[in-house]
């Protein structure tokens, strides 16, 4: 465990030195402030459109950072010829994968803390309230969702040829699941066999990332989701993380490192 934590610490240090997060964070702040400065019939309490835009930018930024940061982890080690020395130390391939995963996931967690803090401050300037439990639910589900994305990106980085192709494919898959994943069963109904069965199989097998998207509830001030459903969603996310990490470990075990 200490080895995994040490490796994760290295990943965190590497990622906070990169400029991706700072650039996306500043862009998010600027866009939100510009939209917030719009005069809407002299009403200073209108806030939901700003929350909507802010959360959309936070989701896009977090997906971009999670996928691009994870996709280059192992290929970069290979390219810099540091993978062999790493594995020559008392470090198994499984520990390497887990260390990379926990490092990227921890970075995403820190990033989400910054983003949601900004979001809370932005909302409070107009709403004059702090629905902290709502934000806690939204941020925790968001973080679990990023864990699933990071784990399948890590698997992708071992399967696909280059970090650029891994990033593109993972981004398209994640966006596709978030946008139409919920409706795949209805799309399947309109298809003929064997496509219907194939689409149904994908519908049941894929991780439903939309479970972790509470944006509409936060934007429109819906009541809290019952904690038991939050807990079940977290367990659902963890199950997929375990599956993807196990697959990544298997793929990495068979992969030549030189």
């Amino acid at each position: 465990m200490r080895t995994i934590c040490a490796l994760a610490g290295v990943v965190i240090k590497e990622l906070y030195r990169r400029k991706d997060f700072y650039v996306l964070f500043v862009i998010t702040i600027i866009i939100c402030l510009v939209m917030g400065s719009m005069n809407v019939f002299n009403d200073n309490e209108i806030v939901r459109y700003i929350k909507d835009i802010a959360l959309l930018l936070i989701w896009i930024s977090s997906l971009v950072i999670a996928i691009t940061a994870t996709a280059r982890q192992i290929p970069a080690e290979k390219e810099n010829r540091t993978l062999l020395p790493l594995l020559a130390k008392p470090l198994t391939r499984t520990q390497l994968i887990l260390g990379k995963f926990f490092g990227c996931w921890a970075v995403c967690g820190l990033m989400l803390v910054c983003f949601y803090l900004f979001f809370g401050l932005l909302s409070a300037t107009r709403e004059h309230q702090w629905p902290l439990l709502h934000y806690l639910q939204a941020a925790s589900l968001h973080w679990v969702m990023l864990g699933v994305v990071i784990s399948f990106t890590l698997l992708g980085s071992l399967v696909f040829a280059a970090p650029s192709s891994t990033s593109t494919i993972c981004f398209v898959v994640a966006a596709g699941i978030l946008l139409v994943g919920r409706y795949l069963d209805r799309i399947a109904l309109s298809l003929s066999e064997p496509w219907r069965s194939i689409v149904y199989a994908i519908y049941y097998a894929m991780p439903h990332l939309e479970f972790f998207d509470m944006r509409n509830l936060i934007i429109h001030d819906w009541p809290l989701v019952e904690w038991k459903y939050i807990g079940l969603a977290v367990l659902y996310g963890f199950a997929y993380i375990v599956v993807f990490l196990a697959a990544a470990c298997l793929a990495f075990r068979r992969k030549p490192v030189n």
């Binding site: 459109y49 799309i187 819906w222």
Partner: protein, 317 residues
């Protein structure tokens, strides 16, 4: 340059000259492009009045699509996010409820608006519904909290309506809906007047805008002569519009609905002014286009049975 070899100095001088020449070439290219595009842009603007603002030039005809999307987004906000997608049954949402609830726009909605999701199809669908809005509410009725003291939160739809109006200044519904919510729930009749005037500048003589403008004067400012003048102008413009439309393109349902609204409101206005004969004349015209003529006939009968009251005296309630 001290510390550099002769060759290095030569290379540096050559590079600087290249950059300067490249900069000059880009400047000439930019100037040439501006000189070429300027007259073309002016020609487009004069040939197509729709392209006379920033969005028109930037987006062209696609701005109508964006405007429509933002108008629908306002309706999504009105329902606090509980809204059908293209994969759901949308018959109950064909006319956005923010427009239908104004009374100015004919509703084409059918079916049950509260159950467009239907029963859960499987455990994934059932579980997913815990993380999305799952109940039909309207913001002016308190939204998800059902707290009527929060009905002013209907103001949250306004940013999208404002953007939609800027993108497509010819969409009448946007002005009508914005003005309605401003003057009714948000108690800002002055802002509503400004919105409608802006709509009339872009769409001169539009009967729907005139109808809503008349409502502002009648219901908010209680200015009966001004409201009468505007509504009568609305009826005239509507008749001209109907006459000018080609027979196949006539939208009878919407035109009849608007005429019904104009005549019914004129009838009410004349009753309030004590002009019962004029009121009866307007109600009779309304009856010819109303979907419920029996109710209007009943009202006319009530008016005709009342004792004669001199014009200008208050109508007995």
């Amino acid at each position: 340059m001290p510390g550099f070899s002769t060759q290095a100095r030569k290379l540096t001088v050559t590079a600087a000259r290249t950059y300067f020449l490249a900069l000059a070439a880009f400047f000439i290219l930019a100037f040439g492009l501006a000189a070429d595009l300027g007259p073309r842009l002016q020609a487009i603007e004069s040939a197509h009045p729709r392209y006379d603002n920033f969005y028109g030039i930037l987006l062209g005809d696609s701005r109508d699509l964006f405007a429509n999307q933002f108008f629908v987004e306002a309706d999504v906000y009105y329902h606090s996010g509980y809204y059908p997608t293209i994969f759901d049954q949308t018959k109950a949402f064909e006319t956005p409820h923010i427009a239908a609830d104004t009374g100015d726009v004919a509703s084409h909605n059918q079916g049950e608006e509260t159950t467009f999701m239907g029963p859960p199809r499987d455990w994934i669908d059932a579980f997913g519904r815990h993380f999305v809005p799952d109940r039909h509410t309207h913001l002016d009725e308190g939204g998800p909290t059902d707290d009527l003291s929060k009905s002013h939160e209907v103001a949250e739809i306004l940013p999208w309506l404002k953007i939609a109006a800027e993108l497509d200044p010819e969409n009448i519904q946007t002005y009508v809906v914005t003005a309605f919510w401003l003057r009714t729930r948000l108690n800002q009749p002055g802002e509503a007047l400004e919105v409608l005037r802006s709509g009339l500048r872009n769409n001169p003589g539009n009967p729907e805008l005139l109808f809503e403008l008349g409502r502002v004067y009648f219901e908010n400012y209680h200015n009966i002569p001004r409201a009468r003048e505007i509504w009568e102008a609305g009826v005239r413009m509507l008749k001209q519009q109907v006459a000018a439309e080609p027979a196949g393109a006539r939208n009878d349902f919407d035109n009849r609905f608007l005429l019904d609204q104009l005549e019914s409101n004129l009838g009410q206005l004349e009753e309030q002014a004590g002009n019962f004969n004029a009121a009866i004349a307007h109600w009779r015209l309304a009856k010819t286009v109303s979907p419920s003529p029996a109710a209007i006939q009943k009202h006319i009968d009530e008016l005709t049975q009342k004792p004669w009251i001199p014009p200008g005296s208050p109508f007995p309630r």
